[in-house]
Every structure is written in C-alpha cells, then in structure tokens.
C-alpha cells in the first residue's frame, strides 16, 4: 500500500471545474438569448448547473478536509492565501464601481446640471434607514467576533447563538435594503446617479447574500461537529468575507449615501 510521504494534498481528479466552465458558458449565452430573444431556458439551466457545481465542489472540499484529513498545516496555509487573494480581487471589483462614482460626482458635467446630486435626483436621507443599515452591519461584525471567540473556547452553545445572531442581522440588512430600493424616487436608468448608485449598492447586496449563505453553511457545519477549537478555517474564511462586506458598506455609506447626497 503506497502512502504519500509529504504533507500536501494531491486532489482526486474532479469533474467540477469542467461543469463549472460549462455552466459559465450557459449563463453567458443564456443572458444573450434572454436579452435578444426573450428566451430564458438556457439562463435557467446555467443558474441550476452553476448552483449544483458549487454545492458539489464545496461538499467535496468538506469531505477532503474534515473526513479525509487532507487539510494539514501547509495545506491550510495555502487555503488562507487563496481566500486572502480572492478577497483582494473582490476589492478591485468594487474599486471599479467606486471609481465610476467619484469620476462622475467630483466633476459633474453640464448634463447633470453642473452639480451633484444631479438635477431632479432626490437622494435617500443618509440619517434614516442607511444609518440603521450601518449599525446592523457593525453589530454583525461584533457578533461574528463573539462567535469566533466562543468557538475557540469550545463553547458550543454560545458560538451557535452568536453565529445565528450574525445571520439574522445579515437577513435584516437585506430586508431593509430591499425596502429602501422600493422607496427610491430614482431607478437604475435615471442617468449616471442611478447607474452608479444601483451598480455599487446592488453588487454589495449580492455579496451580503453570498456572505449570509456562507455563514449559514458554517452554522450547520458547527452543529454537525465539523469544527474544533483549533481547526475551523471554513469559519474563519466566512468571517473574513463578512468583515470585507461590512467594510465595503462603510465606504458605500460614506461616499454615496452621505457625501453624495
């Protein structure tokens, strides 16, 4: 019987990179079919296929780490670098939208009336629901830190409570933001203000939903005894992602909601 004599992880050949790539093809061609021909079957197939790929791929990673013991220290170090690099790439993604906002708002063109906010745009009051949203996300940052410390101290009850509070705050933020969206007097097609507002806040909202899903997965894994007090990288990755989402909101609030109003 041959066993490896190194601490690294030689992964089993997997079909998920292929199905992931094909799903991306279905998503993109599906969008073309929807935009040009009002035909949604391909897009639906793409959404379903990408969801199935993500579920199975991440399920396999849990199996490899928690059940097969492949996540040794050097492997975990690699996973940490990977998550950090991914979050950095997301920072650049949002940087683009902030660039667009500042480009348009620092030197308003004659088309906007020469000032910001443009003529005819009535921004949301930053001291109302947006401020509540800020408090909600900041509080969720506290609760997730509490959950982490409870986890490190092997306190099952408190880590479950704190994690579920974090998830509840995330859901509350999404609910509040959705109701704000229905309250705006402007839409995405209302000039450059509408475009920058909804692209930046919309993608942020999507990231909140992704983060909440990640945290929920961690909640169930914690209940299933996957985490130990010293080895719980999945939870740490979720916590890093959640703090990133919080920081993006703070930039959004200060730039678009407050300074931009």
């Amino acid at each position: 019987m041959t066993h490896q004599t190194h601490a690294y992880h030689m992964v089993n050949p997997s079909p998920w990179p292929l199905t992931g790539a094909l799903s991306a093809f279905l998503l993109t061609s599906g969008m073309i079919m929807w935009f040009h021909f009002y035909y949604t079957t391909l897009l639906t197939a793409g959404l379903l296929a990408s969801t199935m790929t993500m579920f199975q791929w991440w399920r396999d990673i849990v199996r490899e780490g928690t059940y097969q013991g492949h996540h040794t220290s050097p492997v975990q170090k690699g996973l940490r670098y990977g998550m950090i690099l991914f979050i950095i790439s997301e920072v650049f993604f949002f940087a683009g939208f902030f660039w667009a906002f500042y480009h348009s708002s620092l030197a308003p063109t004659p088309q906007t009336g020469g000032h910001w906010p443009p003529t005819g745009i009535f921004p949301l009051n930053p001291m109302e629901v947006p401020l509540l949203n800020t408090a909600v996300l900041l509080a969720s940052g506290v609760t997730i830190t509490w959950a982490h410390h409870s986890l490190m101290e092997a306190n099952r009850k408190e880590s479950a409570q704190a994690l579920s509070m974090t998830i509840a705050l995330g859901i509350y933020f999404t609910y509040l933001q959705m109701s704000e969206y229905s309250e705006t007097s402007f839409t995405i097609s209302d000039g450059i203000y509408g475009s920058t507002f909804f692209m930046a806040t919309g993608f942020h909202g999507l990231h909140v939903i992704i983060g909440t899903t990640f945290l929920t997965t961690c909640y169930f894994r914690q209940q299933l005894y996957h985490f130990t007090s010293s080895h719980h990288f999945g939870f740490e990755a979720a916590a890093w992602y959640w703090h990133f989402v919080d920081v993006v909101w703070l930039f959004l609030y200060i730039s678009i909601y407050w300074w931009g109003s």
């Binding site: 094909l22 199935m52 396999d60 199996r63 059940y67």
Partner: protein, 116 residues
Amino acid sequence: MLTQDLEVVPVPAVAIFIPGVQLSRLVVSNRAKMLRNLLALRQIGQRTISTTSRMHFKNRVAEKQKLFQEEDGIPVYLKGGIVDVILYRATMILTVGGAAYAIYHLAVASFPKKQD
C-alpha cells in the same frame, strides 16, 4: 384538553352572515379559546425544551471519516453513495447537454432568415 379547544370557528369567513350581537359573542369566545390554546402550548413547549435543545445533532464525524477513508479507489465526488452518482450524472447531463443546446441556438441566431 387541547382537542376540546380546537373547535375554533374560522371567524372571518362566517362573520359576514351573522348579525351583530351573536357575532361579538363568537369573537369573544373564540379569543378566549385561542388564549387557552396558546397558554397550553407554551406549557408543553417549556417542558420539551428542558429535555431536548432545539435541533439535536449527533456527532457522526467519526462514521463519516471511516466511510470516506475506505481504500476502495472511489473518487471523493462519488464516495458518498448513490446520491452522489445521481447528482453527478444530473449535473453532467445538464451542463454538456445545455452547452450543445446553446451552440445550436447560437448557430441558428448567426444565420437569420431573410425577410422579403
């Protein structure tokens, strides 16, 4: 005790057809029944919570570790059993079939019919 109280009449639907005095008596008696229901449920809820704590998950990690460490040559994406195989096949059919379907549609869209 609970079953007796469950003869609560669905008031909203019936209410339209009953004159004023009888309606208010119905509403009051239904409200009293609902309150008794609620209090009884609370008592039962309190009793059960003390013995079980919400969702009771057992620690099955050791079993899973044994299953996934079995040296049978099965790759990790199929090692969980028949559900893995079904999901894998469904995903493959959807993606490969879908990609072929997408290429077909793109080909059709690339050669639009001439309209005279």
